[in-house]
C-alpha cells in the first residue's frame, strides 16, 4: 500500500505542497485548506520542522457511521451526499489532516499534487507497511 511520507530533513518550509493541494482540491490558494500540514518555523526550542500527512491508516473509513469515506483500489474517496457533518473523522484523524468544510470534509485522495510540487523530494509517495 502506498502513502505519503514526509522527510523533515529535506523540507525547506516553502509551503508549495500545501498550495498545490489547496488549488487542486479546493480551487483556491491557502495552505490552511490543504489536506496535509507542514510547519517549519523557529521556536524557543530551536528550528522546528513538522509534517502531518495522510498515512492511509484508514481510521476515518472505520469511524464514519454512514460510510461516506470509502477505500477503493488503494485510494480514499468521499461521498458528500452521504455525509452528515458529524466530524467524527476530523476529530479522530491521528494526523489531523482531514479538513472540515462548510459542508462535508476534505481528505487526501492521493492526487500527488504535493509530491509533484515539492522541490526537494521532502514529500514522497512510498510503499508503506500496514
Amino acid at each position: 500500500m502506498k502513502a505519503l511520507v514526509f522527510h523533515a530533513e529535506k523540507c525547506i518550509g516553502c509551503k508549495l505542497c500545501q498550495l498545490a493541494c489547496s488549488a487542486q482540491n479546493e480551487g483556491e490558494f491557502n495552505p490552511r485548506l490543504a489536506r496535509l500540514k507542514i510547519t517549519s518555523h523557529y521556536t524557543r526550542n530551536g528550528f522546528d520542522v513538522r509534517g502531518q500527512t495522510c498515512d492511509f491508516g484508514m481510521g476515518c473509513v472505520d469511524i464514519c457511521p454512514v460510510d461516506a469515506i470509502v477505500e477503493k483500489n488503494g485510494r480514499l474517496s468521499f461521498k458528500e451526499e452521504l455525509c452528515t457533518d458529524c466530524a467524527l473523522c476530523v476529530d479522530n484523524c491521528p494526523n489531523q489532516v482531514i479538513v472540515k468544510k462548510e459542508k462535508g470534509i476534505g481528505i487526501c485522495v492521493q492526487c500527488k499534487s504535493c509530491t509533484n510540487w515539492c522541490p526537494t523530494e521532502a514529500l514522497t509517495f512510498e510503499e508503506v507497511n500496514k
Binding site: 525547506i12 508549495l16 498545490a20 487542486q24 483556491e28 491557502n30 517549519s40 518555523h41 510540487w117 522541490p119
Partner: protein
C-alpha cells in the same frame, strides 16, 4: 482574483480601523508592492513631514501574485518616508506575512497616526484589534515573536526590537526572527508610532481562473525557469557564495572600504558557512531556499547573508565566523540592519585607529564588536554615537570623506571602485546606497563587461533599475533571475488583461520616476547623487582593484548620461515632457 480589492487602514491616533476599496487606476499603473506603496505615499504624505512624526505612514503592500503558487511570490513591500535619508523608502521582506495579509482579505494595510501607548495590531480576517504592548515593549525582537506565538494561534508576525523603539535610523522590522525589512530605518517608523508588532492570520483563499491549469503551468515554470543552473546557487550556497566572487574581483569591502580584498576571506566564505549549516530555509512559495540555518559553537542564526559577511566581517576586520554569527543574531534580536550597523562600527574603528575620535574600538576587536548591537540599540555609551549612522557621526566628529553612505544610507557590500556601474546604482538609487535597485556587479565585476569604464553603464543601470522595480511591484524576489517575458506571461494569467513586456518596461520606468518625484519634492537633486570622497580620491591597493578609483569626472559624465536616458534635466529633475509621458 489578483487583488482582494480592499485596503485596511488603521489610525493609531484614534484607534480606528476602516476598510476602503483599492484604487484600481493606481493598481493598473503600479501593479502592487513597491510601485503601489510609493504611489499611495506620494499622494497621501504632505511634503516635508518629519518621518518620525504621526504624519508619516507605514504601508504594507502585497502584489497581484501574492498568496498564489507563483514561485518566489512571497514577499511584502513595506514603505514609508525614511527617517535615515528623508527619501521615499520601500523595503521588501520575505517569510510569509504577505500571503497571510491577502488571505485575511487585504491587498494592503496602511498604518497612520501614533498610539498614545505601546500597542500591537492583530488582524484576523475582518477582526482588527489593537492590544496593549506594555509587556512587549523593551523586549528583543525574538522574544517578542516567541511571546506572540504563545498568545496567538498560528499567526504570522512582524515586530521591532529595541532599536525600533529607540528610533534608530538603522532599525529594521523582523519576521520569523531572521527575515527583515532592513533598510532606511523602517523599524523606527514603526517605533515612532508606538507599534511593537503586527500579527495577521487569514482564512480566505486566493482564486485564479482555471486554477488547476494555472498550477500546472507554474509547476512547469518552476522546473524549467526557476530551478535552473543559473538560479540554484541559492539552494546550494545562498548569498555567502558572493564572498569569493567579491574577493577575486577586489570588491569585498574591507576595514571600512579601505581595501577591496580581505586576507582571511576563507574563514567567512560560503565553504565556511556551509560547514556549519544545519538546514535550508525558504520564504513562502520559494523553491530556491536561499536561507541557511547555521550553528557554530554557541552561536546560531539564519544567516549570515553576504551583506552581513561583508559589512560585519571583512569591513570590521573580523574573521572569526562564530563572532560574526553571534553579531548577526544580536543585530536581528535588537532589530538592527546589519548593513548600516556594520558600516557604523567600521567607521568608528577607522576613526579610532586614525586618532580622529576615540570610540574605543579598533578593527578586529571582537570583544567590543560584540558589545555594539546592545549599546547602539539602547543608545548607551559609544553606542549613542554609532546609533546616529555614519553621516551624522562624521558631521559630529569628522571623517566625512570615508563615511560610506549615499543620502545618509550606508553602503552595501560591493566596492564601487571595482564596479563603476555599481557606483552609479548607489548614487541614483531612490533610497540611498542600495544594492537591490540594480546589481550591475553581476555583469561587470562577475561578468564580461569591463568594470573600469563608463561606456554604456548609464543604460545598464537604468535597465536593471526598471526591471527590479517591476519585480518588486509584482512582488517577486529579485533572486529569481527571470525575464520580463516570463513576468508578462505570469501576469497575463493572473490579471484580467494581457500584460506585455513593453507595458512592464513602462511600469518600471514610471515607478522609478514617481519615487524620484517624491524625493524631488523633498529637495533632492543632483547634489545628492554622489558617492563618498573615498571612492573618487583614494586608490585601492590590493588584489584585482589595486590602483583603482572611480574618477569623479567619469562619474559626472555617467550621471549626466543617466539623467538624459531617464528624461531628467542636468540637475536630475524630471522634465515636464517626461512627467507628461508617464502621466505624473
Amino acid at each position: 482574483m489578483a487583488y482582494t480589492g480592499k485596503i485596511l487602514r488603521i489610525n493609531l491616533s484614534t484607534g480606528k480601523a476602516t476598510t476602503e476599496p483599492l484604487n484600481e487606476r493606481w493598481a493598473h499603473d503600479y501593479l502592487g508592492g513597491k510601485g503601489l506603496s510609493i504611489k499611495y505615499l506620494f499622494e497621501e504624505l504632505a511634503p516635508g513631514i518629519d518621518p518620525l512624526s504621526p504624519d508619516n505612514k507605514l504601508v504594507l503592500m502585497t502584489g497581484p501574485t501574492t498568496g498564489t503558487i507563483v514561485p518566489n511570490s512571497g514577499k511584502l513591500a513595506v514603505a514609508a518616508k525614511s527617517p535615515a535619508t528623508g527619501t521615499i523608502l520601500d523595503c521588501s521582506i520575505g517569510g510569509r506575512f504577505a500571503p497571510e495579509l491577502k488571505y485575511a482579505g487585504y491587498d494592503a494595510a496602511i498604518i497612520e497616526g501614533k498610539s498614545k501607548v505601546p500597542v500591537y495590531l492583530v488582524v484576523e480576517d475582518d477582526k482588527v484589534e489593537l492590544r496593549s504592548a506594555a509587556k512587549l515593549w523593551g523586549k528583543g525582537a525574538h522574544e517578542t515573536e516567541y511571546i506572540l506565538q504563545d498568545i496567538l494561534d498560528d499567526f504570522v508576525t512582524m515586530v521591532i526590537g529595541p532599536a525600533g523603539e529607540n528610533l534608530l535610523p538603522m532599525a529594521c522590522i523582523n519576521s520569523e526572527l531572521y527575515r527583515q525589512a532592513g533598510r532606511g530605518g523602517i523599524g523606527a517608523v514603526m517605533g515612532s508610532k508606538n507599534l511593537k508588532a503586527v500579527a495577521v492570520k487569514g482564512s480566505g483563499g486566493v482564486k485564479i481562473p482555471n486554477i488547476r491549469k494555472f498550477s500546472a503551468t507554474m509547476n512547469k515554470i518552476k522546473r524549467e525557469d526557476t530551478m535552473t543552473d543559473v538560479n540554484m546557487w541559492a539552494y546550494s550556497d545562498g548569498t555567502p557564495m558572493i564572498v569569493d566572487l567579491c574577493q577575486t574581483t577586489g570588491i569585498l569591502p574591507t576595514r571600512n572600504f579601505q581595501e577591496g580584498t580581505f586576507e582571511q576571506y576563507e574563514q567567512i566564505n560560503s565553504e565556511a558557512v556551509k560547514a556549519v549549516r544545519k538546514a535550508k530555509k525558504a520564504c513562502f512559495a520559494c523553491p530556491l531556499a536561499c536561507g541557511n540555518y547555521v550553528q557554530k559553537g554557541k552561536a546560531t542564526v539564519e544567516g549570515p547573508e553576504y551583506e552581513t559577511l561583508a559589512l560585519c566581517s571583512s569591513n570590521c576586520g573580523i574573521s572569526d565566523l562564530e563572532a560574526v554569527i553571534e553579531f548577526n543574531r544580536l543585530c536581528d534580536d535588537y532589530g538592527l540592519d546589519t548593513i548600516s550597523t556594520g558600516n557604523a562600527v567600521a567607521f568608528a574603528m577607522e576613526m579610532t585607529e586614525k586618532g580622529l575620535h576615540d570610540f574605543g574600538i579598533r578593527f578586529g576587536d571582537i570583544e567590543n564588536y560584540l558589545k555594539m548591537p546592545a549599546l547602539m540599540a539602547n543608545r548607551e555609551g559609544v553606542g549613542a554615537d554609532l546609533a546616529l549612522g555614519v553621516r551624522t557621526m562624521a558631521a559630529k566628529y569628522g571623517g566625512t570623506e570615508f563615511a560610506m553612505a549615499v543620502k545618509g544610507l550606508e553602503m552595501p557590500g560591493y566596492e564601487p571602485r571595482g564596479s563603476w556601474a555599481m557606483g552609479l546604482a548607489y548614487g541614483t538609487s531612490d533610497r540611498g546606497a542600495c544594492h537591490m535597485r540594480a546589481w550591475p556587479v553581476s555583469v561587470e565585476a562577475f561578468g564580461d563587461i569591463d568594470p573600469f569604464t563608463i561606456e554604456s553603464k548609464a543604460e545598464l543601470v537604468k535597465g536593471m533599475q526598471d526591471n527590479n522595480a517591476t519585480k518588486f511591484c509584482v512582488i517577486l524576489c529579485d533572486f529569481w533571475a527571470l525575464s520580463n517575458e516570463r513576468i508578462a506571461e505570469i501576469l497575463s494569467l493572473v490579471l484580467d488583461r494581457t500584460m506585455t513586456v513593453e507595458e512592464l518596461a513602462r511600469i518600471g520606468d514610471r515607478v522609478y520616476n514617481v519615487a524620484r518625484l517624491f524625493n524631488e519634492r523633498e529637495g533632492f537633486d543632483r547634489k545628492d547623487d554622489y558617492l563618498p570622497d573615498r571612492i573618487f580620491t583614494e586608490k585601492l591597493t590590493t588584489g584585482a582593484t589595486a590602483g583603482k578609483l572611480l574618477p569623479r569626472e567619469e562619474y559626472e559624465k555617467m550621471l549626466t548620461e543617466y539623467y538624459r536616458l531617464r528624461g531628467w534635466d542636468d540637475n536630475g529633475k524630471i522634465t515636464i515632457a517626461k512627467k507628461k509621458e508617464l502621466g505624473l
